[in-house]
Amino acid sequence: MSELNDLEQRNNRVLRKLVIGSVLMFGFAFAMVPLYDVLCDITGLNGKTSDTAASGEVQMDEDRLVTVQFVTTSSGGMVWDFTPQVRSVKVHPGEITQVNFQVKNPADHTIIGQAIPSVSPGLAAPHLLKTQCFCFDNQTLLAGGEADMPMIFYLDPALPKHINTITLSYAMFDVTERVTGNKDKLAAR
């Protein structure tokens, strides 16, 4: 009899370990979210730029000239007219540059927008640093409202040598429901 109890105990021990193991793996799925962000920061995967302001103190490299293109998209049913004031600028790495983006809300109600940046080629993303950006926060426009939104950036002189054109894309999403918690519009879909 004691032999049986012994077996049961051993079974329960292994069972416990495996249950803990699977719970940990469930947690690992969620741990992949921050891990992925870290990986993106290091490698520029997906061209994500940092969402916090950089210091802006850096030596300018006047021997190099890099073209920075600006691309805008109103995504996922967003109705705003969203355009960059200039389509591209040529800058020296380290040179601090301001670019304005114009938005106009043609709708008859207030809309909250959030711009999501993406840089191509992805390797350039960690080297495009912003001291100020409308994309750090969401933006509210009243019905028919217009605004000029500034973005101030510089390129890290450590930008890999072979990169001479960088595209900075902003996708503007309608986050009114997300911010106000109003799900009516979503339910109607």
């Binding site: 292994v14 069972l15 793996m25 469930f26 690992f28 969620f30 992949m32 490698t43 390797l123 997300r178």
Partner: protein, 535 residues
């Protein structure tokens, strides 16, 4: 035939065996639960196969003839989910339930009540999923069933998913819990319940491959559960794991999914390696060549499967270094897989071969699985993968690996062990018909898919350009032929279940070795109450 006299009169166990519905509902017996798993998976195989035929009926001719593109997408989605989670996985769990205790000399699985639970979750999980499809089918496509492919990429399945996505999430959670419990049971049984003298390196290879499969399941099914949980919170609780608008990333979903998805592929195929490694030595009358290297190859395949996942997503735009890493790792995984194939060939080499039904299926497996493996090697080369990716070439590849691979090996296992399960030999005439029809039709079905895929037909297309028309017609003919051929296997199984056929001896295959052949056929309700002695 080796003379084994131990037959007849094993009725002594019958007073333990409950009868009627209760026997199956409340069963804690590994053989009964194994039987339930096997019948269930076969039923799901037929349902998923029917859905495949709806797909093939639509694709037989260019133009939309049979179903709406929306319903077509539901069919591809649910066909994939049912075949992966409802047919292949439960079938291998059923085989594990039946055979592992018999092979290691254990009286039952280590956790019999949990075993009951892990099976009985499954019918409910699939009722939910199939219910969504039926509602859609009888409501003229409204409400829509899951329609985002079995890989359910965000945001198609989150922001743009139909209401039934929540049913799908619940269903996947249930399948996951069932698989995890089944896997835990296998691990505990193998680690603790082996008969005295059955050391790890004496275990049959089927037990080894299943043990490694079980560890993979425990490691990755929770990750899948995590992915669908994130989907749920994205859909209803305001998070944005996969929604760019809230700072999330749709590509993150693919990373999490394929971190589960690639080991999942090996979860489906490793038990097949075990089955084939049991059958070929039997009918070659020769020991398995390189037993130890087989074990190590299986383990290294399992480990490598954790570092190759991104080869499913070369086109999402990864940095060059990442792409190169995943390409090299993927190519590397073909080395241990090759070792396995070479070992099987060497096992046959200078044996004394006969070609009974299980051997026929096993040989078909080796040849056709190798075809699938070689096209997999082609897919590993990233620059050409850009051309192959998400075309019918990929569809051909994974159907060669999973249908003429995993499912053929499950047929091999069924013909091999049916005498042990039922006590009668499977009908040879029907079995031969089943084999030859399946072998020919499966190639007519899947081989031309390579052509249309290379020519550029993307997968999950409800309609296609005219240059793909000729081969799609042949593919559909092959599909209906293959589908109808499986009815022969229904007949084979029903005959065995009704005990119609030649009575099976305890060891019906003369070259077979292993503890399962030392008990009578059919295997009595309780076996190895006293542990056998291993020499």
């Amino acid at each position: 035939m080796t003379a084994v006299a131990a037959h007849h009169d094993h009725h002594d166990d019958h007073h333990h065996a409950p009868h009627g519905l209760k026997r199956w509902l409340f069963s804690t017996n590994h053989k009964d639960i194994g039987t339930l798993y096997l019948w269930f998976s076969f039923a799901m195989f037929m349902v998923g196969g029917f859905m495949a035929l709806v797909i093939r009926a639509e694709l037989m001719y260019p133009g939309m003839q049979v179903v709406d593109p929306e319903f077509f997408n539901q069919m591809t989605t649910v066909h994939g989910l049912i075949m992966v989670f409802g047919a292949v996985m439960p079938a291998t769990v059923g085989l594990a339930n039946w055979m592992i205790p018999l092979m290691i000399g254990a009286p039952d699985m280590a956790l019999p009540r949990m075993n009951n639970w892990s099976f009985w979750i499954l019918p409910f999980a699939f009722t939910i999923l199939i219910g969504a499809v039926l509602m859609s089918a009888f409501g003229d496509g409204n409400p829509s069933a899951p329609n985002f492919g079995w890989t359910f990429y965000a945001p198609l399945s989150t922001k743009y998913g139909p209401a039934s996505t929540d049913l799908f999430i619940l269903s996947v959670h249930m399948m996951g819990i069932s698989s995890i419990m089944g896997a835990i049971n296998v691990i505990v049984t193998v680690l603790n319940m082996r008969a005295p003298g059955m050391t790890m390196m004496k275990m049959p290879l089927f037990v080894w491959t299943w043990l490694i499969t079980a560890f993979l399941l425990v490691a990755v099914m929770p990750v899948l559960a995590g992915a669908v949980t994130m989907m749920l919170t994205d859909r209803h609780f305001g998070t944005s794991f996969f929604d760019a608008a809230g700072g999330g990333d749709p590509v993150l979903f693919q990373h999490i999914f394929w971190f589960f998805g690639h080991p999942e592929v090996y979860i489906m195929i490793l038990p097949s390696f075990g089955i084939v490694s049991a059958i070929i030595p039997t009918f070659a009358r020769k020991h398995l060549f390189g037993y130890a290297s087989m074990v190590y190859a299986t383990a290294s395949i399992a480990l490598l499967s954790f570092v190759v996942w991104a080869h499913h997503m070369f086109t999402v735009g990864m940095p060059l270094a990442g792409t190169l890493f995943f390409m090299y790792m993927t190519m590397l995984i073909s080395v241990p897989t090759g070792v396995k194939v070479f070992n099987w060939v060497a096992t046959m080499w200078r044996g004394s071969l006969t070609f009974e039904l299980p051997m026929k299926w096993a040989l078909a497996f080796v040849v056709l699985f190798t075809c699938g493996g070689l096209s997999g090697l082609m897919l590993a080369l990233t620059p050409v993968d850009f051309q192959y990716h998400d075309t019918y070439f990929v569809v051909a590849h994974f159907h060669y690996v999973l249908v003429s691979g995993a499912i053929f090996s499950i047929f091999a296992a069924a013909y091999y062990w049916l005498p042990k399960w039922s006590g009668v030999m499977p009908n040879t005439f029907l079995g031969e018909l089943h084999f030859w029809n399946s072998l020919l039709s499966v190639n007519l079905l899947f081989f031309p898919m390579h052509f249309v895929g290379l020519a550029g037909m993307p997968r999950r297309y409800a309609d296609y350009a005219l240059q793909f028309a000729d081969y799609n017609w042949w593919i559909s003919v092959g599909a209906f032929w293959f589908g109808i051929s499986q009815l022969l296997f229904v007949a084979v199984c029903v005959l065995c279940a009704m005990k119609k056929g030649k009575k099976a001896e305890a060891a019906p295959w003369e070259g077979a070795e292993g503890l399962e052949w030392t008990v009578p056929s059919p295997a009595p309700f309780h076996t190895f109450d006293t542990p056998p002695v291993i020499k």
